[in-house]
């Protein structure tokens, strides 16, 4: 089973998020932090735009030959002493994880940050099987203490303020002196570091995700800043990699091209602190490293996206830039999206992975401003893909009746030029007259949802068509 979605209630979720003062304060950090840093990092590298093209082309090439690169990857993993497993869906992936853990008699499992592990809900599965799963990325650790899902794919706890984190640490780390000072982020970090050190050293199994798989060498790659993913895979006897099938790229050179746009797009760093290439288990003579190396490759609907109008989405390298630049994400945060993947990439991916009936609301959460596409390092046309989903939702009669009638009425008028001109002229004149004193509407009938969070400026003159006509003098 996978994480339970609340995506169908997107509107209610968003409504709640807009009224949450703590969340709104925390979201200010997204708006302030990521955007400037990305611009500066990109500006320092003259080849940045060319590298985006290159990254896009590499991923397209890998997807067009996905079967062959997966075979090459598997052969190399086996040759280096590791094992590749394939899982059609979440249930199967969880079953494989549990089997490996049981075979080792595992009690505790440490985890590096992995969106696939969120997608399949492996923590829950491990706990059901009587094992303890410990998140070790600072952000993931915090949200695990709170029993929450991540609200951002690279900054899982971005929705929280430091006061909230302090309260959680006091609630959970009961054995520490109650009067300790935790008012600064650095004190919180140090406390988490100490708590997790013990866990790393005691763990039986380490699970990480993979940013890339390299076919040439049978290597899995993780990209992190904290080093938790490294301790996770280094110290236990067994390293399990959870990855989805589209993560494979051909060569070390190809990974290098993509790495040059990944961190710059994500956090504005030239390079993340740790990029770690893991190939098989420890070698004869090695004095550390895991004895077993397993790669579990998850499909979960991705093979069906190949060759469809959503194939572009499989290029995604999970940098988070699209949500960092999204006005809707800035307003409601990640949890409102109701499943694992938020923001524009989540709006496209969620309906593909859990069905348009579950995730069909999300592609509507867009102003179609196009900022996501303009920053995506692999040039995914996110607005176009969201539009595809809207069309499908409409075709399948999944949109609400009021929307359907509204669109039908609009279409009826829009197809009749004379009627359209007449209606818009009266509409503009009427609204202009009604709003003449304030210049804007705080509330409008039938548009209460829209005007609740912003004012509608009152029209100040003619319709566009009338002005166009006047300007051109025809």
């Amino acid at each position: 089973m996978s994480a339970h979605p609340t995506s169908p209630q997107f509107k209610a979720n968003a409504h709640e998020a807009l009224g949450d003062a703590q969340l709104q304060k925390a979201l200010g950090n997204v708006r302030a932090g990521f955007i400037d840093k990305r611009v500066k990092a990109a500006a320092k590298l003259p080849e940045f735009e060319d590298l985006r093209d290159s990254a896009r082309d590499i991923k397209n090439h890998a997807l067009a030959h996905l079967d062959l690169y997966l075979e090459a990857h598997e052969a190399k993993v086996s040759a280096s002493g590791g094992t590749v497993h394939y899982a059609r869906d979440s249930a199967e992936a969880n079953r494989i994880v549990i089997e490996i853990c049981r075979a080792r008699g595992a009690k505790t499992v440490t985890k590096g940050k992995s969106m696939i592990s969120e997608e399949i809900g492996v923590n829950e599965a491990l706990e059901k099987a009587g094992m303890e799963a410990i998140e070790t990325d600072l952000g993931e650790y915090i949200i695990q203490l709170r029993g929450e899902a991540p609200s951002h794919i690279i900054a899982p706890a971005v929705h929280l303020t430091k006061e909230q984190v302090e309260a959680d640490f006091r609630r959970v780390h009961k054995h520490l002196p109650a009067d300790r000072d935790l008012s600064q982020p650095v004190q919180l970090l140090t406390e988490a570091r100490t708590m997790l050190r013990e866990k790393f050293l005691a763990a039986d199994i380490g699970i990480t995700g993979a940013n890339f798989l390299i076919a040439e060498t049978g290597t899995s790659v993780i990209v992190t800043n904290e080093g938790n993913g490294d301790l996770t895979q280094l110290l236990p006897k067994c390293h399990i990699v959870l990855a989805s099938i589209e993560k494979v790229v051909p060569t070390l050179e190809d990974v290098s091209q993509i790495l040059r746009v990944l961190a710059r797009s994500a956090t504005g760093q030239d390079m993340s602190v740790y990029t770690t290439l893991s190939t098989g288990p420890r070698r004869p003579g090695d004095v550390d490293g895991p004895e077993d190396y397993h790669v579990i490759l998850l499909d979960n609907g991705r093979s069906a996206m190949l060759g469809s109008e959503f194939e572009d989405m499989l290029r995604c390298i999970r940098c988070g830039a699209c949500m960092n630049h999204c006005p809707v994400y800035h307003a409601v945060g990640g949890h409102a999206y109701g499943w694992v993947y938020p923001g524009p990439m989540g709006a496209v991916l969620t309906p593909s992975l859990i069905g348009v009936d579950q995730g069909g609301q999300l592609p509507n959460a867009s102003t179609f401003c196009g900022r996501c596409e303009s920053v995506c390092p692999v040039r995914i046309p996110l607005p176009k893909l969201m539009r595809h989903w809207r069309e499908r939702e409409f075709e399948r009669h999944l949109s609400p009746a009021s929307t359907r009638y509204g669109i039908a009425a609009w279409a009826f008028v829009a197809r009749r030029a004379g009627l359209y001109r007449l209606a818009t002229r009266f509409g503009m004149a009427g609204l202009g007259w009604l709003g003449r004193s304030h210049g804007r509407f705080k509330w409008l009938p039938l548009a209460g949802g829209w005007t609740k969070y912003r004012d509608l400026p009152a029209p100040q003159g003619e319709t566009f068509q009338a002005m166009w006509k006047a300007k051109r003098g025809t």
Binding site: R88, L138, A155, P250, G289
Partner: protein, 222 residues
């Protein structure tokens, strides 16, 4: 049907292929064999001296401290000074790297120990496989000579890198890696390390010393 064959047949159905088409097979074989380089970055193609300068500048920009020594004979003293200036205990753990072992440690009062880290060591030194100038990145390869645990568990990590091993871009480092380990072959772990460990997970404030080392000191030799 097994999950594996199910997934492969789904992929092939979606792509409209059988998996036996010659042009596809040769496209893949060729790419894996030749590993084309893609878009080069100009800053990775500097003359050697500038390259070393860029490496040091980039490493400092990500909060490494860097010192340069003329030859490997001076490394122990440089490390002893570094630890003393930071008021750290005069202890140092290292692997079996022959280049490190050959250095004149007896000239210092450092208490040396050898082997992987069990988490109790405060200071460690490793020898880098290569340095990459474009981002000030160290390339570390695992093995008894430089155990991976030394890269992550001690609070203060010192990395020795030879100026001759500093390359302009990642691609050049991969070339050396292939020469050393063989094409398509890798040691268990290759770490690309760019600065000391950090986290921005609490209110997007970047703090050093998350789970890995709190400080990273580089000694460039030559």
């Amino acid at each position: 049907m097994s999950s594996r064959s199910d997934i492969f047949s789904n992929i092939r159905r979606s792509l409209g292929v059988t998996g036996t088409e010659r042009p596809r097979l040769s496209a893949v074989a060729e790419r894996l064999a030749q590993a084309p380089k893609g878009v080069p970055v100009a800053r990775g193609q500097l003359p050697k001296d500038d390259m070393i300068g860029l490496f040091c500048a980039q490493a400092e920009a990500v909060q490494c401290t860097v010192s340069r020594v003329a030859d490997s004979q001076q490394v122990p003293e440089e490390i002893a000074n570094y630890l003393r200036n930071k008021n750290l205990p005069a202890t140092l753990r290292m692997g079996e790297d022959a280049r490190l072992s050959a250095m004149p440690w007896s000239k210092t009062t450092l208490a040396l120990s050898q082997g992987r880290s069990d988490g109790a060591d405060l200071n460690a030194v490793s020898h880098a496989f290569a340095g990459v100038a474009e981002t000030g990145t160290l390339i570390m390869t695992s093995g008894a000579d430089n155990p991976t645990s030394l890269n992550f568990l001690p609070d203060n990590h010192i990395i020795v890198v030879e100026a001759a091993d500093i390359t302009g871009d990642y691609e050049s480092a991969w070339q050396s890696l292939r020469e050393r380990f063989g094409k398509g072959l890798m040691p268990r772990t290759v770490n690309m390390i760019t600065g000391p460990s950090r986290s921005g997970d609490i209110e997007q404030t970047i703090l050093l010393g998350a789970h890995g080392p709190r400080a990273l000191h580089l000694v460039v030799v030559g």
